[in-house]
C-alpha cells in the first residue's frame, strides 16, 4: 500500500461522512464561536463610551460649580438682582481691601479731586 492507494481508498468510506463534511456549515461554527465575542465587544464599547461621557460631564460640571457659574440655561428674569452671580475675576480679586486702607472706588485723592483745582 502507498500514499496514492490510501488516497484512493478514501473513495470507499461511508457516504455519511462525505455528506457530513459537505453539510457541516462553516458559518455555523464561526457564528457559534464569534457571536458571543461580538456581543461582548459591543457591550464593552458601549460601557466605555458611557463611562467616558459621564467622566467628561462630571469634570465640566465640577469646574462650573467651583466657579459658581449657573450650570443650567437661565434667562435674565431668572437671575435675581439681589444675588448677582460672582464672576470668576471677582472671586479671584476681592474688591474689599484690608482694614485701614481706603477703598479707591469713587474716592479720588484730595489733591487729584477736580474740585480742589477750582479757585477757592
Amino acid at each position: 500500500m502507498n500514499g496514492k492507494e490510501l488516497l484512493l481508498g478514501l473513495s470507499y468510506i461511508s457516504p455519511k461522512y462525505i455528506e457530513e463534511a459537505k453539510n457541516y456549515s462553516a458559518s455555523q461554527k464561526r457564528i457559534r464561536f464569534r457571536k458571543p465575542l461580538l456581543i461582548a465587544a459591543v457591550i464593552a464599547l458601549t460601557l466605555l463610551l458611557v463611562g467616558c461621557a459621564v467622566a467628561a460631564y462630571a469634570r465640566i460640571h465640577m469646574r462650573l460649580v467651583q466657579h459658581n457659574v449657573p450650570t443650567t440655561a437661565q434667562t435674565d428674569e431668572d437671575v435675581s438682582d439681589t444675588t448677582p452671580a460672582r464672576s470668576v475675576i471677582a472671586s479671584c480679586y476681592p474688591q474689599q481691601l484690608p482694614g485701614g486702607l481706603p477703598s479707591g472706588r469713587g474716592v479720588a485723592p484730595e489733591s487729584h479731586h477736580p474740585e480742589s483745582l477750582l479757585p477757592q
Binding site: M1, N2, G3, K4, E5, L6, L7, L8, G9, L10, S11, Y12, I13, S14, P15, K16, Y17, I18, E19, E20, A21, K22, Y24, A26, K29, R30, F33, R34
Partner: protein, 184 residues
Amino acid sequence: MEDAKIVELFWARNEDAIKETDAVYGRRLNALAKNILQSREDAEESVNDTYMETWEAIPPQRPRYFFAFLAAICRHLSLTRLDWNMAAKRKAEVVSLTEDMEQCIPDASHERTMRGKELGRILDAFLESLPKDSRVIFLRRYWYVDTIAEIARQYGMTESKVKMQLSRTKEKLRIYLEKEEIRV
C-alpha cells in the same frame, strides 16, 4: 429538486434526471473535479462521465446519500483520469496529499495490497473515532482536496491551526493503521 425525486427520475429512465442532477450538484462536482485535475476542461469531462456512470448505476442502486454517491464517483474518476507524472511536474495539490498520506502508512503495510472496500472499512472505523471537527477538516482536505487556505477561511481558523489539526489527525491515522495491521 429533492434528491429522492431525482433518484426516481433515474429509476424511471427519464433523461431529465441528468439535467436536474447537474442543476443541483453540477457546481459542486465541477469544483471537486477541478481541485483534483487542475483543469476546467478535464473537470467538465469528469463530471459528464460521472453522470453517465450514475445513469448506469441507478437502477439497480438506490443511493441514500445521493450527493455522496455522485461525489464518490466523480472523485474516483478524476483521480483515475489524473496524469500523475504531469501532476508531479506541476506540483499539483493532489500530489502533496499523496505524500501526506504516505507518511500515515506504517512500514509493515507497504508490502501489503489492500482492496478498496477493505481499506474503506478500516478508514470508516478510524473516522468514527475522531471528533467531528477533526473528521470534517480531514475530509475537506483529503477527500474534497480543499486547500489549507480554503479550509481556514471556511471554518474561521488560522492556517497554522488547520495544519496542526491535520498533522495530529495524520499521526492518529498512522497509529491506527499500525494497530490494524496486527488485527487484519
